[in-house]
């Protein structure tokens, strides 16, 4: 929780390591989705050299994130799922 005197926001900090299986691929982006059941909603697109993201004003509810690597040809990899309680 990140607070002032009267206000507060919840920040979920996601960090990851590059998948060794992606070695040799040109990873240019990461896409983070929030999952509602099986339906993903794009939260943010990040550059391929980023390995951390802070989701500001995330609220107190449980959120499932899906992180996908994206190659220079636009192909998305399999998602890495994480749920923040």
């Amino acid at each position: 929780m990140n607070r002032t005197f009267s206000q507060a926001e919840y920040i979920n900090i996601l960090s990851w390591r590059t998948d060794p299986a992606n070695e040799g691929l040109d990873i240019t982006q990461y896409r983070i989705y929030t999952m509602s059941g099986d339906t993903p909603t794009l939260l943010v697109e990040l550059a391929g050299d980023q390995i951390e993201y802070s989701h500001r004003k995330a609220g107190q509810a449980s959120i499932t994130y899906a992180l996908r690597a994206v190659t220079s040809s636009g192909r998305e990899g399999a998602p890495a799922l994480v749920t923040v309680q």
Binding site: M1, N2, R3, T4, F5, S6, Q7, A8, E9, I11, R56, K57
Partner: protein
């Protein structure tokens, strides 16, 4: 709000009328030596210590500026003041900048304990407190509320119409402008320069 301000104005008026009546009753008597009163304009600054334990880690303590009008008789004096304090602080986790300001209008009655050169007094009154907190990450939170305050202090005439005033004031005011219920009151140690009349 208007009702509360009305009460304060009535208190000021009553104390002024009482003083006028005393003057009328004593019209034919030999004039007694003029007694020092608390009637004066006071410009003051002070140091504020917040009651709410969550205030200090974010904003710390700080200064308060204000002005005050006192009007009244030998013992009871009406008092009306405005004061302002503003602080810049940091978010608890990201350390981003956040600002808070509180504008207060307070008024009530003071009781003068002694009438020497040094005039100690105590008093109590109502305050209307306007709170605003702003920052980039979350936005703005503001709220106002009416609450109570008590004061104690002493005025000392250093010249015929010039007085030094030192005072401690305690105020309390709870409200919930956003996510947390907060108390924006606290202790104020104040010094003032008064212009008597």
């Amino acid at each position: 709000m208007i009702r509360k301000i009305g009460i304060v104005l009535v208190l000021l008026w009553v104390s002024h009328v009482l003083q006028a009546q005393q003057a009328t009753v004593n019209e034919n008597a030999p004039a007694p030596p003029k007694e020092n009163t608390l009637s004066m304009f006071v410009g003051r600054f002070g140091f504020f210590l917040a009651s709410d334990s969550e205030f200090k880690p974010i904003y710390g303590n700080g200064v308060v500026f204000g002005g005050e009008l006192r009007l009244g008789g030998r013992r009871i004096t009406g008092w009306l003041e405005g004061n302002y304090r503003a602080r810049t602080g940091k978010f608890s986790f990201t350390k981003e900048e956040t600002k808070v300001n509180v504008l207060a209008i307070e008024g009530g009655a003071l009781y003068k304990i002694n009438s020497g050169k040094i005039m100690p007094y105590v008093g109590a009154g109502l305050g209307y407190y306007m709170y605003k907190e702003t920052n980039q990450p979350i936005g703005e939170a503001k709220k106002s509320n009416i609450s109570f305050c008590v004061v104690g202090g002493a005025s000392m005439r250093v010249l015929k119409s010039l007085a030094l005033d030192c005072r401690i004031k305690y105020s309390t005011c709870s409200m919930q402008p956003a996510d947390f219920k907060v108390n924006i009151g606290g202790l104020t140690f104040g010094l003032g320069l008064g212009l008597g009349f």
